[in-house]
């Protein structure tokens, strides 16, 4: 089933929120980094909405996952690409879905391997409040509640839309 989520509207709202927050904090320059792959798509849309010239950074957390021995590597995904210096830079980290918080934890660990950012804000399209870590987003498109057998997925990169899928629950 497809829930009626208007991604474009949410992104416009997120862009505005980012601008407001940056003004409040007195930050004039910052860089946007998307988490592969859905986060990169959202980051690129935010870049357009914010009329920014700088390219967005891309971060691929495959090598930072805490479950790789269970799920294996995903080699086909493209490597991280951060076309700017991380040291002393304000970063807006972007992802499509925030659920347990494990992905953004891995992404922050990876960012710190490139340098020491001045600050990190976290912007996310959909917040599903099933946190397993003490992590809170700075900017949220929408909050969504999911049943235990449901997963949400952003489909893209053209014509971004959100799918909700039923999954088979596995015993762990």
């Amino acid at each position: 089933m497809t829930e009626q989520i208007d991604v474009a509207t949410l992104i416009a709202k997120m862009a505005q929120d980012i601008e407001t927050q940056m003004q409040t904090r007195g930050i004039s320059t910052y860089e946007i980094v998307g988490i592969h792959s859905g986060g990169v798509w959202i980051a690129q849309q935010l870049r357009q909405a914010l009329k920014r010239e700088q390219a967005v950074g891309e971060i691929n957390i495959s090598f930072y996952r805490d479950d790789f021995t269970r799920v294996g590597l995903h080699p086909q995904v493209s490597p991280s690409n951060l076309p700017f210096v991380i040291d002393n830079t304000h970063i807006v980290l972007v992802d499509d879905v925030l659920m347990s918080g494990r992905t953004v934890r891995a992404a922050m660990n990876e960012l710190f391997d490139y340098g020491r950012p001045a600050s990190i804000q976290f912007a996310v399209l959909i917040d599903i409040n099933q946190r397993e870590l003490p992590i809170a987003p700075s900017v949220v498109g929408t909050v969504m509640a999911l049943a235990t057998d449901e997963r949400v997925k952003l489909i893209g990169p053209e014509d971004l839309h959100v799918n909700i899928q039923k999954i088979a629950i596995q015993d762990n």
Binding site: F63, F68, G72, P75, P79, S80, Y114, G115
Partner: protein, 329 residues
């Protein structure tokens, strides 16, 4: 046989002993994984936490500088703890058997052995009979195989040529004693190049070399024509016994790669060499250092390939051990 022992039931790598028996898809997966590790080597902090808390033991029964140091760097870039054992100067000289020594190392909770041995089949033997629950990576066994060297060569070829389709590749030199050549031939054929040639004097070619899927040439003039890739092998002086060659000078005159011979291949042909180079024996300095040489790319790629193989084998082995433990509970 080798393919079975190397893979988990779901087809993931758990040991890396040989290229033979591995599918094109799996070899491509190794290359793709390595490709994504190259970027790690370009970072400020050249380290990812993938193998944090894992112990990798480098077991080198045969001396090696480059292979051992790139395996060590690869393991360290994956955040593993690395133990380097130079066996020729340690336990075995006190009379301890190989099996006893390895079982001791396993009891120290080692997760991976990187094995270099002068006996063909050593890594396979360890994986099969001695410590099957430790992931084994073959870093060269006798005349048999040197699969990570072959894969880093494949990565170098793919980077420079885009794909393997239609390529004509020659391996030049001491094929007889070369585990590198054997692994390269298998990898090239599995990945689907158009033609693999071997060029060497008859004394340095195995009798039945054609059955590996190669064309045999004994003259550089014939073999170098239309080539896209030239792989020069080191003349293994330490293995030259029994008058296989008249002299090094004679070998260089006939089989050494210089500018004049290089001009017989395609103008955009790349020149490779697994190192260490004997300048003036198998290759001239101006070719080794020239624009068509990709020898130093090979070294850089060696770290990425070893990171890929180590992380894939560790992941597969951990999966196997986890499911075995669960079955016991």
């Amino acid at each position: 046989m080798e393919s079975e022992i190397q893979l988990t039931p779901s087809g993931r790598l758990k040991h890396f002993l040989s290229v033979s028996g591995l599918s094109r898809a799996l070899l491509t997966e190794i290359l793709d994984t390595a490709e994504s590790f190259i970027e790690v080597g370009e970072r400020n902090i050249r380290k990812v936490p993938l193998l944090r808390g894992k112990t990798v033991v480098n077991l080198f029964f045969e001396p090696s500088t480059r292979t051992r140091s790139t395996f060590e760097l690869a393991a360290k870039r994956l955040s593993a703890d690395v133990l380097n054992l130079d066996i020729s100067t340690s336990a075995t000289s006190k009379g301890e058997s190989l099996s006893d020594m390895l079982e001791n190392l396993e009891a120290m909770a080692s997760d991976m052995f990187v094995v270099r041995h002068s006996q063909s089949g050593a890594a396979h033997f360890i994986a099969e009979s001695v410590t099957p629950n430790v992931a084994i990576v073959n870093a060269g066994d006798g005349w048999h195989a040197h699969p990570t060297q072959a894969m880093l060569d494949m990565l170098t070829i793919r980077q420079h040529k885009g794909s393997f389709e239609g390529l004509k590749v020659a391996i030049v030199g001491d094929i007889l004693h070369s585990r590198v050549a054997r692994s390269q031939i298998r990898a090239l054929n599995t990945l689907g190049v158009a033609e693999v040639r071997v060029i060497a004097p008859n004394t340095l070619l195995p009798n039945d070399v054609e059955c590996l899927g190669v064309k045999r040439f004994t003259q550089m003039e014939d073999g170098l024509k239309d080539l896209d890739v030239i792989i020069m092998l080191r003349l293994q002086k330490e293995r030259m016994q029994g008058g296989l060659l008249p002299s090094e000078q004679e070998y260089y005159r006939l089989y050494g790669l210089n500018q004049q011979k290089l001009a017989m291949a395609k103008p955009d042909a790349i020149v490779m060499h697994p190192g260490p180079i004997n300048r003036g024996v198998e290759i001239s300095s101006d070719v080794a250092d020239g624009p068509q040489s990709v020898i130093l790319n090979q070294v850089t790629n060696g770290i990425a390939i070893r990171m890929a193989v180590m992380s894939m084998a560790m992941s597969g082995q951990t999966e196997t051990n986890t499911s075995r433990k669960e079955a016991l509970e």
